[in-house]
């Protein structure tokens, strides 16, 4: 039996993890990534530190990228899967990249096409794109990576920065009913990072609930208060105005004091939610995968078979099936790898038995 050949679409944490495990198990992995580099969204948007241990992204992802590149997996960056046709003996895929098209025969496909940050322009009350000092997660991560926290409007160091949770999540108005799972943790992490870089900056988090699951509770939520002095205000900013001095004015209700409040702020960071990326939607359409009600890829059984899909030979992992943290995506990549390898092995046994 020839070694199983598996196509992985997407070179983020999940796809990398799948590629590594497939090659480690003696399989042949073809990793297709649309960007010119591996590492996915965390690398593309220059994420700074990762929750909860405040480890730099490079420290987490670079060893994985290196080991994938050294493992003998075929990494095609700047490439795109054009078409997938399933036949009797696996799939025939067309991959375009670098101005030419390649055709490959593979036994199974792993979809690791990831997520996109929700676009906060759609929530006009927050004036994202109107007031330069209203920024979102990806803008602030970039700012933290550069180590340069300044107000985009005037280049000065802010005195007060606030985070507004659940922008584009848990909101019927924008059609995003689900929780993004990471907004709380990432906001708190960013606030801690700010306080560490410059303790003179006051940080506030406007929240409805703080959802720091499991170990994140003490490692992030409690620690941010005890050691970093991050302040929490229960209640959401309903709209952002700008005062005469150019500072932002956050209109909110403090739901503990039960009164409306207006607080002058220098910067507001919108904790934008997660939605299925364009690549995920396109790939799902190409492979005939069903989407679930939130627009992500629907697993065969979300409880018992989270990485299998209704299409035989196609597996899915990472944020393509819903909001997830990087460790979870890496775990799911490994799970999809073993499921794909087992699928190929079982099929070849069947083929042999038939012959």
């Amino acid at each position: 039996m020839a070694s199983p050949k598996i196509l992985i679409i997407g070179g983020g944490p999940a796809g990398l993890s799948a590629a590594q495990d497939i090659t480690d198990a003696g399989g042949e992995a073809i990793l297709v990534e649309q960007e010119g580099f591996l590492g996915g969204t965390p690398k593309r948007l220059h994420y700074s530190l990762l929750a909860p241990d405040l480890k730099p992204v490079e420290e987490v992802l670079d060893p994985l990228i290196d080991s994938v590149q050294q493992s003998g997996a075929r990494c095609m960056t700047g490439a795109k899967v054009e078409s997938v046709n399933s036949g009797r003996n696996g799939f025939t895929v067309t991959i375009s990249g670098g101005g030419k098209k390649v055709e490959e025969k593979v036994d199974a496909v792993v979809v690791a096409t990831g997520f996109a940050h929700w676009d906060p322009h759609k929530k006009y009350e927050y004036a994202y794109g109107v007031y330069p000092d209203v920024i979102d997660f990806k803008d602030f991560e970039k700012m933290l990576s550069d180590g340069n926290i300044v107000r985009p409007s005037n280049g000065q160091v802010p005195r007060r920065v606030a985070w507004l949770l659940c922008v584009g999540s848990r909101d019927r108005q924008v059609g995003k009913f689900y929780c993004c799972r990471l907004g709380c943790a990432v906001s708190i992490k960013q606030a801690m990072e700010v306080r560490r870089i410059n303790p003179a900056i006051d940080t506030y988090v406007y929240y409805m609930d703080i959802r720091t699951y499991g170990f994140w509770e003490d490692k992030l939520y409690w620690k941010s208060m005890e050691e970093f002095g991050v302040k929490y205000i229960r209640g959401r900013i309903g709209s952002i105005n700008r005062g005469e001095d150019g500072r932002l004015i956050a209109m909110a209700e403090d739901t503990i004091l039960q009164r409306p409040s207006e607080v002058p702020l220098d910067m507001v960071v919108l904790a934008t939610g997660m939605e299925a990326s364009e690549g995920t939607r396109e790939t799902a359409a190409m492979l005939g995968l069903e989407l679930e009600e939130h627009g992500f890829v629907k697993p065969l059984e979300s409880d018992s078979m989270p990485v299998s899909t209704a299409v035989p030979g196609v597996f899915v992992c990472g944020t393509a099936t819903g909001p997830k943290a990087i460790p979870d995506s890496i775990t799911e990549g490994s799970a999809a790898a073993i499921k794909a390898l087992n699928y190929v092995r079982k099929r070849s046994i069947k083929v042999q038995a038939r012959a």
Partner: protein, 257 residues
Amino acid sequence: MTVLQNLPRRGPKGTEPSMVIGGARPRDEKTEELAAKIFSEFKSDFRYKEYVLGCINCGECTTGCPAARFYNFSPREMLQIAYQDDPLVLLDAMQEKIWACCQCYTCNMRCRFGNDIAGIISVMRELAVRNGLDSAKEVLKPYSRILLAVMTNGTQVSPDMIQPDFFADWGPFAVAKQTDIKTLRKAIPIDVLQVTDSSWEVSMQTSLELFQIYTESGVVDMLKSIDPDLVEMIEDIVDEWKDEFEEMKAKYGVGEA
């Protein structure tokens, strides 16, 4: 067992209170009866299910609320009261707080759960009027002149009556805008008849038909519980008109001259 005494009594199916927010309160049979009645009417209103979905306490409704800035009032609190199951708390809110709302519907625009908060407040107001609550009487007292005009004429102002001189608080900008108002009105892209002076002269037939509608739809009965004197006065006027109308019909044949 004092705890058991404070448990709410069972009401009709689907409308029984399941929880008491405030705990023990001084009991007054009459108030509790009224509260239970209003509570059951409120929860069985067909709009209730449509307007009140749930609440995650984000406070965005209160953020934009103009009334919340000036009064001890918050749309979030109103929705919580509407959602929770305490008849006495509901009655308390209906006695005062619901009247602070100015029905601008900003809360509805903001609500990420999709509640119709201003809508449910208007349902509460309607119930307050229907049940003749003191608060409703108090609030509607200054409006009896307007009510009289609306109930008999169907309108109480014509556009021409609204002159800037009467409303000093409009400021100079509004006055400047008024100078060319006739031309501006002509620019309205839909057909609005351009009639601005005759809303006081509604035809008698129209007035009588309107009153018929008010009677059949229960508006007159609703008003009776709030201001019986006013209703009496209106009925006198309408009766007079009816006679006059009959006379006219006899004199000129069918319909109005």
